[in-house]
């Protein structure tokens, strides 16, 4: 592409890693690259799956994880520490959800209660009027050691319909936490007996997880159940991210990225408003379908009356970049229908291990994109990556480290041919 976009690249920019995205993979990449000594800039294009998370921290979809509990990838623990606000419990984590199950996880948002070590002990489930929260249905669903407990948790009028995140924000205030602790102690002693822990709806802080503070005040472990998407854990993630990025000096800009292309010795990233950013390496961590990094765009969606000139891939990256999309370790094929593929063949629940859950950028283990030296991918946008929080974090950390290391190496030495005749990378 020859255009005004191909202006000169500042020498300093070649020493910089650009991270496209702002979710957990992008954050891990930015922190890792920064720790490896690179200057880093994060381009925030809006929220995605990380902000919609409900606080469970998984390496694989958890039902698979239960069957095959593998070790943590090397960089995970460090990346989680750098982010802050999350816990990897020794001996695993068990989380209760507002859908009524107790499920395993690798770790958790620190506000969530780990009920694993409490097995057999009496756990209170507070009765309170919050959307979708019915202690009398949840306690028996979670198990015999859970008991519904009458407690005053809501303090002000209207809190019964306040969004999760807003109610959580009110609990950042220490006075409110004191009040809540007092109410919970009152309730527990009124009910009598010994209580090992208290489960509350997702409301324990927006800035930070307040579970620990509350537990200290109450004298029993307190924590949240995992609730609906778009609640307090997502907000806490964003705040943890902002703190961690600020502490490590990562620069930040709001930009929805339109294209990423090579520009002489660097990579140039163009935003939708025409902003341009240069860097020696770029990590694409734009999320999958949820985050908007990938798009399902069958031809018919844009069809007026005429069919497109040729068949095309129905799954595409939402930004322009010279990367190959694939799934199952192979490049994506063009559908032999001008209208696009049959959803029955590629989507859940018709297809098991569906293409829609696997498609993404074909990348190597360290996130590097074959044939595009200096370009990396991490998180849900990567083909065949498990769509799981902790897996995204780990892949972000790997890609960030690798991106920092490749800075300064000449970008023109590797053959651009390799993307065409090389073996596509496969992931475990």
């Amino acid at each position: 592409m020859i255009s005004a976009l191909d202006g000169p690249v500042a020498a300093s920019a070649e020493r910089r890693v650009l991270v496209v995205g702002c979710g957990v993979a992008a954050t891990a990449a930015a922190l890792a690259a920064s720790r490896a000594g690179a200057a880093v800039m994060m381009l925030d294009g809006g929220t995605g799956a990380s902000t919609l998370s409900t606080g469970a921290v998984d390496l694989l979809p958890w039902e698979d994880a239960d069957r095959a509990r593998s070790g943590l990838p090397a960089d995970t623990r460090g990346a989680l520490q750098a982010l802050g606000g999350y816990v990897l419990d020794e001996g695993g984590t068990r989380i209760v959800t507002s859908a009524g199950i107790v499920r395993p996880a690798y770790g958790r948002d620190a506000a969530l209660l780990n009920v694993g070590p409490l097995s057999g002990q009496r756990i209170a489930v507070v009765r309170c009027r919050r959307p979708g929260w019915d202690a009398d249905a949840l306690a028996p669903a979670w198990g015999p050691s859970f008991e519904a407990l009458d407690a005053v948790v809501l303090r002000h009028g209207g809190e019964d319909v306040l969004p999760d995140a807003d109610l959580a924000a009110r609990h950042d205030e220490s006075g409110r936490l004191d009040w809540l602790a007092h109410r919970l102690r009152e309730a527990m002693s009124a009910a009598g007996g010994r209580w090992a822990a208290v489960v509350v709806p997702p409301l324990l802080g927006a800035q930070r997880a307040r579970a620990h503070d509350l537990s200290d005040r109450v004298g029993a472990r307190c924590g949240e159940a995992a609730g609906l998407p778009g609640g307090a854990p997502g907000l806490r993630f964003e705040n943890a991210r902002d703190r961690a990025l600020a502490a490590s000096g990562v620069a930040y800009a709001r930009a929805r990225v339109r294209s990423v292309h090579r520009c002489l010795t660097a990579w140039r990233v163009i935003g939708e408003q025409g902003q341009s950013f240069d860097g020696g390496a770029v990590v694409l961590a734009t999320g999958g379908f949820i985050g908007g990094g990938l798009e399902f765009a069958p031809a018919e969606a844009s069809l007026a009356t005429a069919l497109p000139a040729s068949a095309r891939r129905a799954i595409r990256l939402t930004l322009d970049a010279s990367v190959a999309l694939g799934a199952y370790g192979r490049p994506l094929e063009v559908s032999r229908s001008l209208f696009g593929p049959s959803p029955e063949a590629i989507a859940r629940p018709f297809a098991r291990d569906a293409l829609m859950d696997r498609a993404g950028i074909l990348a190597n283990e360290d996130g590097s994109v074959p044939g595009s030296p200096g370009l990396f991918a991490a998180g849900d946008v990567v083909a065949d990556a498990p769509r799981a929080w902790l897996a995204a974090l780990a892949s972000g950390a790997r890609a960030g480290t690798a991106a920092a290391r490749c800075l300064g190496r000449s970008l023109v030495t590797e053959s651009a041919q390799s993307s065409l005749d090389g073996e596509p990378a496969s992931r475990p």
Binding site: E63, A99, R129, D134, F296, A301, T305, S342, P343, M356
Partner: protein, 573 residues
């Protein structure tokens, strides 16, 4: 003719049928098989005439064609040229349904644009004349007469219409929630003494060994959810199983050839909101008439009509059918492509059998088959029919059966007596203020339940947490979920969704299915695990119906829905 002297296809009499309970509570006058609109309509009519009725439905009420129709009790303008009496009876009965369930009906004005072309002027004259004839029937259903529109009118009324248009007409139809109509008929029947058994499959119908007229038939049925069996003695049997009619005939032991239907699969695509103020008629690529209609909170594209040979309990739309409809409507209303398709639904029409005709040309008429001639006295089949004329069909059956077989000469009253909740329909805004719920929730609640909305809210006023919104898309209050389980025979999350539209909106049950499962399990005193299983089944079933209409925006929602449900409820299998 003495009984037994006619060669009968019925199985031989069953011995040892003595029942423990001699009180006669297991005896009814009429056993109806099928809980669609024909079965529930007939149950209500029989019950209002004082006959004892039992109704068996293998799945849920309105599970088949009745709950998956275009949602109109339209006047059958399509049938005007071929069978004008179908149009007339449809219009007249549409008027009656307005009288007995005013809260359930909403006006859908339609536009029929005609594209410019060599014969457009002639076509417009013909259409104009055609609708002038239809206007004669409109007063029967309080419909407005048609208007002839020029291209400027069309553009003003519906700016989304594209292409060179020669003009068009407007006409007037009524929308209805077919499931609610079935449920209300069943409820009224129950309130007049009928027994209704949903999820209960009839396993056999045998001639009683007693042979007396009071208990001629023994119906054995099994509850498909909990496995319990039900035995009912009935004097008369009605097969009202729609597309299942020949299958049911086999169970009863009457010749299938006498109740042949030509099952015609019809699918609809649901868009996330009302994208037009008018229903819009369009032509599919094969010249068939299809439409886009604003319907309750959503828009609906319909419909296909294809011979169906598959499993009647598992009817699903395919992406092929979805594309056919979207292509056809997009030709005149292209923004249909930009809207998010949030699902599909499919049903199988029980059209009267004919060989060698195109599906669209088949009659929508109905027919009562008297199986007396097949050696099965007092066994009847209701074949064919349309939602709009269900009441008339039921009346015809009861007018025949009640006096002849039971000596009951009570006249039909199904067209004058209001359905449950229709006696007095409260004002939604006032209701919202009285009970402290949002006007939107109140409006939806009053739409579905009429005056019974107050009964639901009264109960909830004593238990304020039941005023919480369980499904925010529709919205559905927790109290309504509990009500349909307690009072409207809902037993699963699917059943609740059918009656309340919970989980059928844009979020696809992501936020409400698990909670609904908890409530149903609580109300039915089942284990929490059973509630979760119901939620998963609902999600799986809806997932199949959504995936076939997958577009760019919905792909994003699907990914989120599955990610959330996997994390909070466990992966559905």
């Amino acid at each position: 003719m003495a009984e037994g002297s006619v060669p009968s296809l019925l199985p031989p009499p069953v011995a040892g049928m003595a029942l423990a309970d001699g009180s006669g509570s297991d005896e009814v006058d009429v056993a109806i098989v099928g809980g669609g609109i024909n079965g529930t309509g007939a149950a209500r009519d029989f019950a209002l005439r004082g006959l004892r009725v039992a109704l068996f439905e293998r799945n849920d009420l309105a599970f088949g064609a009745s709950g998956n129709s275009s949602g109109m009790i339209h006047g059958g303008v399509r049938y005007l040229s071929r069978s004008p009496h179908v149009t007339e009876t449809s219009c007249r009965d549409s008027g009656y349904i307005q009288r007995i369930a005013p809260h359930l009906l909403f006006r859908i004005p339609f536009l029929m644009p005609l594209r410019s072309g060599p014969a457009a002027r002639v076509a417009l004259e013909l259409v104009d004349a055609y609708f002038r004839a239809y206007d004669d029937f409109q007063p029967l259903k309080r419909g407005e007469p048609h208007c002839r529109l020029d291209p400027t009118d069309l553009a003003r009324l519906e700016p989304g219409l594209v292409g060179a248009l020669a003009g068009g007409v407007s006409f007037d139809e009524w929308g209805v929630d077919g499931v609610r109509l079935c449920v209300l008929n069943a409820l009224d029947a129950i309130e007049h003494g009928a027994r209704v058994y949903p999820h209960t499959s009839v396993e056999s119908v045998a001639r009683s060994v007693r042979g007396d007229e009071r208990s001629r038939y023994v119906v054995d049925a099994r509850d498909r959810l909990d496995g319990t069996s039900v035995r009912i003695r009935a004097r008369a049997i009605v097969n009202a199983t729609g597309a299942w009619a020949p299958v049911t005939a086999g169970l009863i032991g009457v010749p299938q050839a006498r109740v042949r239907v030509r099952p015609g699969k019809g699918i609809h695509v649901v868009l996330d909101r009302r994208i037009a103020n008018f229903g819009i008629l369009s032509e599919a690529i094969d010249g068939r008439q299809i439409f886009l209609e604003p319907w309750q909170n959503v828009s609906v594209l319909g419909t296909t009509d294809d011979d169906y040979y598959g499993d009647l309990d598992e009817v699903h739309a395919t992406s092929e059918e979805v594309r056919y409809l979207v292509q056809g409507v997009a030709r005149v209303f292209p923004s249909v492509r930009l809207a998010r398709a949030i699902g599909t639904y499919a049903g199988v029409r029980p059209t009267l059998y004919e060989y060698g005709r195109n599906e669209d040309a088949l009659s929508r008429n109905h027919r009562i088959v008297d199986h007396g001639a097949d050696g099965a006295p007092m066994v009847y089949s209701m074949i064919g029919g349309k939602l709009a004329s269900y009441r008339l069909f039921a009346q015809e059956l009861c007018d025949l059966v009640a006096p002849r077989d039971f000596g009951v000469n009570v006249p039909c009253s199904t067209h004058t007596r209001p359905l449950p909740g229709a006696e007095r329909v409260p004002d939604a805004v006032e209701t919202a203020a009285t009970y402290g719920i949002t006007p939107v929730a109140a409006r939806r609640l009053v739409y579905r339940h009429g005056g019974r909305a107050l009964r639901i809210l009264e109960r909830a006023a004593r238990r304020p947490s039941e005023l919480d919104v369980t499904c925010i898309c529709e919205p559905v209050l927790e109290a309504e979920v509990r009500h349909v389980v307690r009072e409207e025979l809902a037993r699963t999350v699917d059943d609740v969704a059918r009656r309340t539209r919970l989980g059928l909106g844009p979020c696809g049950g992501m936020r409400c299915a698990a909670r609904c499962g908890q409530i149903v399990a609580q109300e039915r005193e089942r284990s929490p695990a059973e509630g979760r299983l119901m939620a998963r089944e609902f999600i799986h079933r809806q997932g199949l119906a959504r995936a076939v209409a997958l577009g760019p925006q919905q792909a994003r929602q699907e990914a989120l829905t599955f990610a959330h449900l996997d994390a909070s409820l466990g992966r559905s299998s």
